[in-house]
């Protein structure tokens, strides 16, 4: 088993997990309320356990939220290192980003369809009933009424289609609405790639924002709930997909990256402005495939000469990490490149060290996690291999059940999907453009 995603929980223990439960069943009772955890139907066959694709820890460190590739959001309670699943909710589209708001009450979820939803961290019965959860609403068959009329469609084919629809007697509405409390906050008409909840201090007030990135080069700044319908601005300038965005600490700096050979360093607040285009050093560019930024992380580190926000960047299938300090973010510092033996998959900050999970297929079994100690010497950032801390050793020693392992190819699609966001600009749309030009469906007005 290869940890794809990990976080630092309370204390100094790292948790790695995959396939927390079978998709349907094995729900454990929540001892606090005495009621069973929510059951949500999933389409997957029970034989195949779902894989964890996203993981987030609540700011209060009590809850862990995991997204599995069957589009489900699992909420766990963490107590002395033991996780108990409290709820499982199936989203309409595959979530691509997840975060718990600083007040520990709300999960924000961005999905592949471009929408951002908010869900209560701990669902309440009342909220879910209000959202349409009750069991006894039978699916009523409604009389089908086409919205087109003979006045609105004119071509022969469309008229025929309308006539056929009129013949159709009944119409069962497809189950569509989510059966648990949720709110649609905002949406892009594009594939969403990342989403962050960010705060900034304005005078004495603290304002919350939702920052979203999409495949069509946009970074959008919206107000946080309850005013998420207001767009405050865009960070525009990327010419390829944006795959990752990251607020630097709690500052007004935002680092973005994707398919462009540079990172955007933005002042995202109060007026979105590009501060620096940081050209990626060649060492961080992949050799055999197009460039794709697969991770940007930020953490506050005590480098020995004071606290500083450090940003870490990974490119897909590149055995290195790029580290940026304040000098690189705010002035024209070069940052540093750290070579790794394997592809980095995820990164977490642990005090003044970096924890890195790597693709351990590329090395000996006990190398799936490693740690780098960060320091500064003569105002130059340094990263040195950290002698295995205990938590690291524990996780590296852990062996998973090979039965549950995925085939190489499956793992590749799970771990290295970012590059597929790149648009293929040459062959696209030929069909859409030419298809109907002289076809039967051509415009009929004159």
């Amino acid at each position: 088993m290869w940890p794809q995603n990990f976080v630092i929980g309370s204390g100094k223990q790292g948790y790695s997990l995959r396939a927390p439960t079978q998709p349907n069943g094995k729900d454990e009772d929540n001892e606090d309320s005495g009621r069973p955890a929510k059951k949500q139907k999933t389409n997957n066959a029970p034989s195949k356990p779902a894989n964890v694709i996203k993981l987030a820890v609540s700011p209060g460190k009590r809850h862990v939220v995991a997204v599995t590739d069957d589009k489900s959001i699992h909420v766990f309670e963490q107590y002395h290192g033991k996780l108990t699943q409290l709820s499982q909710r199936a989203m309409p589209k595959r979530p691509c980003a997840i975060q718990i708001t600083p007040d520990d009450t709300t999960i924000l979820v961005g999905d592949k369809f471009g929408d951002v939803y908010s869900l209560p961290l701990l669902p309440t019965e009342e909220g879910d009933v209000a959202a349409g959860a009750p069991k006894e609403t039978p699916q009523t068959e409604t009389q089908f009424k086409p919205s087109a009329t003979n006045l609105t469609v004119h071509s022969k084919r469309n008229r025929d289609a309308l006539a056929a629809q009129m013949q159709q007697k009944n119409f069962t509405p497809r189950k569509e609405a989510l059966k648990f409390e949720h709110k649609l906050l905002l949406g892009h008409v594009s594939m969403l790639t990342d989403m962050k909840y960010a705060k900034c201090e304005k005078d004495v007030q603290s304002r919350g924002y939702i920052i979203t990135a999409d495949r069509d080069e946009h970074i959008r700044i919206s107000r946080g709930p309850p005013q998420a319908y207001i767009i405050e601005g865009f960070c525009l300038g990327h010419t390829e997909f944006v795959s990752k965005i990251c607020q630097v600490g709690d500052s007004n700096l935002l680092v973005s990256g994707g398919g462009d050979p540079w990172l955007g360093v933005w002042e995202w607040w109060p007026e979105p402005k590009l501060r620096r285009k940081f050209n990626l050093p060649d060492k961080t560019k992949p050799a055999g495939q197009p460039l794709a930024i697969s991770g940007i992380w930020s953490g506050r580190v005590n480098t020995g000469s004071g606290e500083e926000d450090i940003v870490v960047i990974a490119c897909e299938k590149v055995k290195a990490l790029l580290l940026l300090d304040q000098a690189a973010l705010e002035q024209d510092g070069p940052g540093i490149c750290v070579d790794l033996a394997q592809n980095p998959i995820d990164v977490a900050f642990d005090g003044d060290a970096l924890l890195i999970s790597t693709d351990s297929r590329q090395a000996s079994e006990h190398q799936r996690l490693q740690s780098l100690r960060l320091s500064k010497k003569d105002s130059e950032l340094r990263a040195e291999v950290n002698a295995s801390p205990p938590a690291l050793k524990m996780l590296n020693d852990y062996t998973s059940d090979p039965e549950n392992g995925l085939a190489d190819k499956e793992l590749d699609t799970l771990l290295y999907g970012v590059v597929d966001l790149r648009k293929r600009r040459d062959q696209e749309t030929q069909e859409a453009e030419q298809g109907g030009e002289n076809g039967a469906a051509a415009d009929t007005d004159d």
Partner: protein, 291 residues
């Protein structure tokens, strides 16, 4: 592919200033707004070169601030009226003389249809130039004054997928009117996200519209009308404009009578549903006072 090139050739078989013919520019009425297409769009509004679209509004060197790093020439005005899904441009040509002080832009996703509108604008500008050299020179007149012959210098058209790229063209609060005339109804429930009006997309319209600006919708599909009204009304940045104000609005009349689809619906005896919404001021942040 014998069809298109022939058509394309025919398009060019005309005198300078002669109006293009629609039959050489036909294109399938639907486009998928989710697909990537091969679109050209600026990475941000400041990258957009409007001087090619509105050449008679190019700022002279002392008018433009040359300190900015953008290389293209500046225009003296910015676009304030957008016709989203302008089709064959009927509304644009009708608005041009009525709002001579505004730069008006038609946006259309279909290539051939966009080319038709561009060719027609070029032809009309040429015609206006020819007549103006023989007659006295017309000057730009006040809003709504249609006595002077239109120069069509204030309208233009470009190909765009506005559902994805509206903020690439227009800065915040830059528009005062947005038109959504006879949009694709996308009858199937599965396709409703492809509709031009949705709660989430309305936030982008609110972003580019200035407070007090208006969004105009018209359709012959009652179901779509109800959908657009429902979704715009549900958005907290918009309020519906009262009937009296709507009926007194010259834009509504133009939208009903001068759009190509409006004329077509008229011929077929269909009904037309109109709704106008006003962009409200953004409320103060939660817990903060105004100002």
């Amino acid at each position: 592919m014998a069809g298109p090139p022939k058509k394309r050739q025919r398009r060019e078989d005309k005198q300078e200033g002669e109006l293009p013919q629609k039959k050489y520019y036909r294109q399938r009425a639907h486009a998928n707004p989710f697909s990537d297409h091969d679109l050209t769009y600026p990475s941000s509004p400041s990258e957009m070169d409007w001087s090619k679209h509105y050449p008679s509004f190019i700022a002279t060197s002392d008018e433009s601030t040359t300190t900015t790093e953008t290389s293209h020439p500046k225009t003296t005005k910015q676009v304030t009226i957008a016709d989203i899904g302008c089709g064959f441009g009927g509304l644009l040509f009708a608005l041009a003389p009525r709002f001579p002080q505004d730069l008006i832009l038609g946006l259309e996703i279909r290539t051939s249809v966009t080319e038709f509108v561009q060719d027609k604008i070029a032809a009309l500008r040429k015609q206006a130039q020819l007549t103006s050299t023989t007659d006295s020179t017309p000057t730009l007149t006040n809003e709504g004054d249609a006595t002077a012959p239109p120069s069509y210098q204030n309208i233009s058209c470009l190909r765009a997928n506005t559902m994805k790229f509206l903020p690439n063209f227009f800065p915040r609060s830059s528009l005062r009117k947005i038109f959504l005339c006879f949009p694709d109804p996308h009858f199937k429930a599965r396709k409703h996200k492809a509709r031009i009006v949705s709660t989430t997309l309305n936030s982008e319209y609110a972003y580019v519209l200035r407070p007090g600006g208006k969004i105009y919708t018209i359709t012959d599909v009652e179901d779509l009308h109800n959908w657009m009204v429902e979704h715009l009304a549900a958005h907290e940045s918009f309020e519906r404009v009262g009937e009296e104000e709507v009926e007194g609005d010259v834009c509504v009349e133009v939208m009903r009578k001068e759009t190509e689809e409006g004329k077509k619906v008229e011929r077929n005896g269909g009904r037309k549903f109109v709704a106008v919404f006003r962009r409200l001021e953004d409320p103060p942040w939660p817990g903060e006072k105004e100002g």
